[in-house]
Amino acid sequence: MSTVQAETARAVDSGHRESAVLEARGLVREYGPVVAVDGIDLSLDAGEFLTIFGPNGAGKSSLLGMLGGAMRPSRGTVRIRGAELSYSDVGWRNRVGILSHRGFLYARLTAEENLRFYGRLFGLSDLDERVSARLDRVGLSDRAGFQVRHLSHGMRQRLALARALLHDPDVVLLDEPYTGLDPSAAQVLRTVLEELRDGERTVVMVTHDLRQGLQLATRVAIQVAGRFAWERSAEAIDTNGFESVYHRVVERT
């Protein structure tokens, strides 16, 4: 067993834990002959923020898609607070918020109309207060009446974050949230994401941005060829030397 494999084997929690908010067991996703995710186990408690790095094609977005119920696993299970995700029962979707590099926004609806639309789908009752508070939090109160097609990319991404958090999900899944953002938009996003580390939510973020990813994480994994090739607690990571670790892990696997 290589050093990397041995370290990973110690770090991965493969047993069932009652306290786990988000749990995946033996997750596999196949696209025909291609295995995008190859038997990943995952167990995260409330307050944990897992950042997943990895090269293109490593299966990170597929993993996130399965964790969020956007795609069915070919094999394996996902549990949220102990309840296995069932595609016929959609109640658990209230517990998950997804922010993709695509915003899930309607270009010809205003920022406020987009949030109200999703709020109605989630059956939220205090919609006026929530929408107003979320727009304020992401700094878009003055753009509430603007159609999304008239907003900049950074503003759209902030609005997409407001949409993902509108229903106060227990589990937040972030797929490349920093893609295409200018420094000020990235700062707003980082501030909101830092607030997610409130000890109550569980966050999984996929990103290529090593610096941003390490700043927020409590745990870090490097996914290569559909597997977690390396995983650590953030406290055990030397931030300055992480880039070389990343390249080493990717090249060896």
Binding site: N94, V96, F104
Partner: protein
């Protein structure tokens, strides 16, 4: 109001609002309806054929071809920025999503079908006054059956590389019963025949529409789930 109905209402409202702002589908369907009515009126030699005798069939063909222009683009705006993925990962059940999108499409196509009727009444000299409300009812049933199948197969076609080209190939064979009973009813109602003569056709048309809606609601999740 139950959450299910509120979710349907939210999607219908959103779809109609988007259409009101983009006018993408209604414009193309309405323009097609008017142009088809005008061209069909020139294509008939009135010395040998009475326009009233062929009007019902042409009304339904215009409705089907025109409707396909709009229904085929049901998921076009949804695909932008992955918005439909947001709907699918919300707690809204897939059958509620289907019913909502079908209803929004029905509102649009029904308005177009009334325009088609008006255009043909004008250019073909139809006198539907006696049975107008029944003709309008038959067009409503036909529109409902059509949009139910069209919405389902538009979702199928959206996920393929052939896209909108594939939609008529999938839908048209299934529309044969609707066209047969729809044309049969409309033809006799336009000719001023008594309602009793077309009751059977109308019942079959209604059964087709209900079956299409039920089948669509049951099958939609298999089409959209990844």
């Amino acid at each position: 109001m139950s959450l299910y109905l509120r979710q349907i209402g939210a999607i219908v409202r959103k779809d109609l609002l988007l259409e009101l702002r983009s006018r993408e589908r209604m414009t193309s369907m309405a323009a097609f309806a008017v142009l088809a009515g005008v061209l069909f009126s020139f294509s008939i030699d009135t010395a040998t054929v009475r326009p009233q005798d062929v009007a019902a069939g042409l009304v339904w063909m215009t409705l089907v071809f025109g409707g396909l222009l709009g229904v085929g683009r049901t998921f076009h705006l949804e695909a932008q920025d992955g918005a439909f993925q947001g709907v699918l990962t919300s707690p809204a059940p897939k059958d509620a999503v289907f019913l909502a999108k079908t209803f929004a499409n029905f509102v649009m196509l029904y308005l177009v079908s009334l325009l088609v009727l008006a255009v043909f009444a004008l250019f073909f000299g139809l006198d539907v006054g006696q049975n107008l409300r029944w003709v309008v009812f038959v067009l409503g049933l036909g529109s409902l059956g059509f949009v139910a199948l069209g919405t389902l197969f538009a979702a199928v076609a959206t996920g393929t590389s052939m896209g909108e080209t594939l939609l008529p190939v999938l839908v048209f064979p299934l529309l044969v019963p609707m066209v047969v009973y729809g044309v049969g009813s409309t033809d006799r109602l336009i000719a001023g025949r008594p309602l009793a003569e077309v009751e059977g056709n109308i019942r079959m048309l209604g059964a087709f529409a209900l079956a299409a809606v039920a089948a669509g609601a049951a099958l939609f999740r298999f089409v959209v789930e990844d």
